[in-house]
Symmetry: C2
C-alpha cells in the first residue's frame, strides 16, 4: 500500500553506518538502492557514511561514501577519500555523524559480543541501532531496550528470526492487547536443508555441503547442527514477545547430530518425518522451551516445511493457532528486515 | 508486548456506537470488557454511547449505556433511560457524541448498502469508522478512504478478511516498501466446513447444517456456496493491498454447488482434494483473479486447511511465499479485529 499523501512532505537525509560488510549488509545496500524512490516518497533519503569490516577497519565519511565503489569491493579507496581513519566504533559513529547503525557481525551465541557493545555505542551516540544479530537480544535485550528508550532512539531486530518476516513488529504494532501463550515452529534453515537432503538420499555430509552452497550454513555449522541457532531464536522470541527474561541454558536443546541417515529416511517413509522443532509454552513458573528433533505427522504443516522455508505457530488468547510461513526466502529477505526497521525507526521518532 | 511507558500518560474516554448488535458486536462488547485494563494502560477508556438494531431502532446516550443491560438484551430499557430517540444514523451519532462507529450489519455483496451510508455518516460526523462488513470496501473503498483522510479520521476494516487476523495492517504498517504480486488462499469458512464434512461422509445438506450450527453459515448460505463471499474478500484484498480498483464482476467466480459428494470424496481419497481456492495475480493489464473449486495436492498446505481455518499465501517482490494461517478461530477473532482497529485509530490520530 502506498503511504498516505500527508507523509510525503518533509524530506530528511540519514547517515547510515554498516558494521560488517558481508552478504547481509551488501544485500541491504543493493536493496536501499532499489527502493530509493519509495523511500524518498516516505521522506527518507540516505547515504552510507560509514562501513567497517575486520579487514578494512573503520571507514567513515559524513558526506557519504560511493555505494558503487563499496559494492565493487573498493573500500580502501573509499577510506583514503574520507575523513581521518577512526580507531574504534565510537569514533567511527561520531565521524560518520551516524543516524542509523546496521549491525551485521557474526552471531556469538554464548555472550552476544561484540555486537552488544556496538549497539550500546550507537544508542549512546544518538543513533538508531538495527541488528541482524540474535546475540544482543538474548544477552542484553532489557538493557538495550531501556537505553534506547532513554535516548529516544530505536533498537530494532526484525531480521534475527525468520529472516526479515515481520514477526516482532506484528506483535508490537498489530496484535495489540494480545497475550502470547506459546509457539511451535521450524526456525533453523541449515538443519531443515540437511534433513530434506538426507530424506532425498544424500548423506549428512553431502547435505551440509549443499546447505553451505546455498549460503545457508556457515563453514562451521555446529551452531546450527547442535541447535544453538534455533535455541537463540527461541530465547529471542520469548524475551521480546512473552516478556520473560529466559536464559539460553533454560532452553532444552538437542541437535540433529545423533540422528542416523537411515532413521531419518525411515521416518519420512512412514509418513512421520523428523524436524528440528522449536517450542515454548507459558506455565505457572514462567516459560518451558525446547529445541529438539521431533517426528511430526503429515497432517501437521511443519512436516511440509522443507529446505530454507520456515514456519511458526503462535498460540494466543484470541487466535488459538496463528501461523506465519516463509517459503524459499532469498538473500533479500534478511536485508529487507533491516530496511523495514530503518523506515520504522525514522517514522516513529 | 506491553506498550512503552511513554504511551501511558494521557487517558481519554471514547464514545462508541454499535451498529448491529448480533454475534459480532455482542462479542466485541464482551471483549472490550475483558480487555478493559489493557486498554486503560494505553490511555483508552470507553463507554457504549449508542446501539442500533433493526428491531430496537436507534438508542443513544452520550453518558453511556449499561453494558450488562445491553448484553442481557435489555436494549429497550436502555432506550427509555437515554436521551430522546434519534430518527436516523446521523442524528444517532450526533446524540451519542460518537467517537467511533462499529459497523456490523449484514453483507450486501451487490451494492454494499446500507453499510456505506453508515460509514459515510460516521466519518462526516468526525467519528472513526470501523467495519466488519466487506461490502463498503468493494463498492466504495476509494471514496471512503478519501473522506476519512479529509476528515482526519480512520476508516478501518481488519475483520473483513480472515476474521480479525491482521492482514491489512500487516501490509500497511509492517511490509513497508513491498510490492504484492499476487495471492492464493482459502478464505471462506462455510464452503471449507462443507467440503470437510462431505469428505468425512456427510451429505452436502448435513454439512451445511453443521456449518450453520457452528455459527459459520447464515440461514441463506448461497452467498458462501456460490463463491460470492470469497469473491468479495478477494476484491477487498486487491483494492486495498494491490491498489487496483477491480470490480466484483471482473473476478471469475464458480461456487461448489456443481460438485457431487462422490467427486469430492474420490478427490480426497486420491490425495488431491477439492478446495474453494481464491487467486489473484498482477498482469500487464491489471489483476487476474478467480474463486473456484480446485484440486490441490497434499504437499500444498491448502489441502490441510480444514473446517473454519483459513490461509493465504502472498507473493511479494521480497518474500516469494509469505503465508498467514488461522486455525480454528473462535467468535472472539472477528470482534478482536474491530477492537484492534479501535486502538489503531485512536493511537494514530
Amino acid at each position: 500500500m502506498p503511504p498516505s499523501p500527508s507523509r510525503r512532505k518533509v524530506i530528511r537525509t540519514y547517515n547510515l553506518c554498516l558494521l560488517g560488510f558481508g552478504n547481509v549488509n551488501q544485500t541491504l545496500l543493493r536493496l536501499l538502492q532499489r527502493k530509493n524512490s519509495e523511500l524518498r516518497e516516505r521522506g527518507i533519503v540516505w547515504r552510507i557514511a560509514g562501513v567497517a569490516t575486520r579487514k578494512m577497519g573503520w571507514v567513515a565519511n559524513e558526506n557519504g561514501l560511493d555505494p558503487a565503489a563499496l559494492l565493487s569491493n573498493n573500500v580502501l579507496a573509499q577510506s583514503r577519500a574520507g575523513t581521518p581513519a577512526p580507531h574504534d566504533v565510537r569514533e567511527w559513529l561520531r565521524l560518520a555523524k551516524a543516524d542509523v547503525l546496521f549491525e551485521a557481525t557474526s552471531l556469538s551465541p554464548r555472550d552476544g559480543q561484540p555486537a552488544i557493545d556496538h549497539i550500546r555505542a550507537a544508542l549512546e551516540a544518538g543513533a538508531h541501532a538495527i541488528t541482524a544479530n540474535k546475540g544482543p537480544i538474548v544477552h542484553a535485550f532489557e538493557e538495550l531496550r531501556s537505553l534506547a528508550r532513554a535516548k529516544g532512539r530505536k533498537f530494532l531486530f526484525e531480521s534475527t528470526v525468520m529472516d526479515g518476516v515481520p514477526i516482532f513488529s506484528l506483535f508490537r504494532d498489530n496484535l495489540l492487547c494480545i497475550h502470547l501463550q506459546g509457539f511451535r515452529g521450524i526456525l533453523n534453515s541449515t538443519t531443515n536443508v540437511i534433513l530434506s537432503g538426507v530424506e532425498e538420499g544424500l548423506s549428512f555430509e553431502e547435505s551440509l555441503v549443499k546447505a553451505q552452497e546455498l549460503g545457508v550454513a556457515e563453514t562451521d555449522a555446529s551452531n546450527d547442527i547442535e541447535g544453538w541457532d534455533a535455541a537463540v531464536k527461541v530465547a529471542a522470541l520469548i524475551r521480546v514477545l512473552m516478556d520473560v527474561p529466559i536464559r539460553l541454558e533454560e532452553i532444552q536443546r538437542e541437535g540433529i547430530s545423533k540422528l542416523s541417515e537411515d532413521v531419518v529416511r525411515a521416518a519420512r517413509a512412514e509418513g512421520k518425518p523428523y524436524k528440528l522443532v522449536c517450542r515454548a509454552q507459558r506455565t505457572d513458573q514462567g516459560v518451558m522451551a525446547s529445541v529438539r528433533p521431533e517426528r511430526v505427522p503429515l497432517s501437521d504443516p511443519l512436516a511440509w516445511v522443507a529446505g530454507t522455508s520456515s514456519i511458526v505457530y503462535f498460540e494466543t488468547d484470541i487466535f488459538p493457532g496463528l501461523a506465519i510461513t516463509e517459503n524459499n526466502p532469498g538473500l533479500d529477505a534478511t536485508a529487507y528486515g533491516m530496511l523495514a526497521d530503518f523506515v520504522r525507526a525514522v517514522k516513529e521518532t
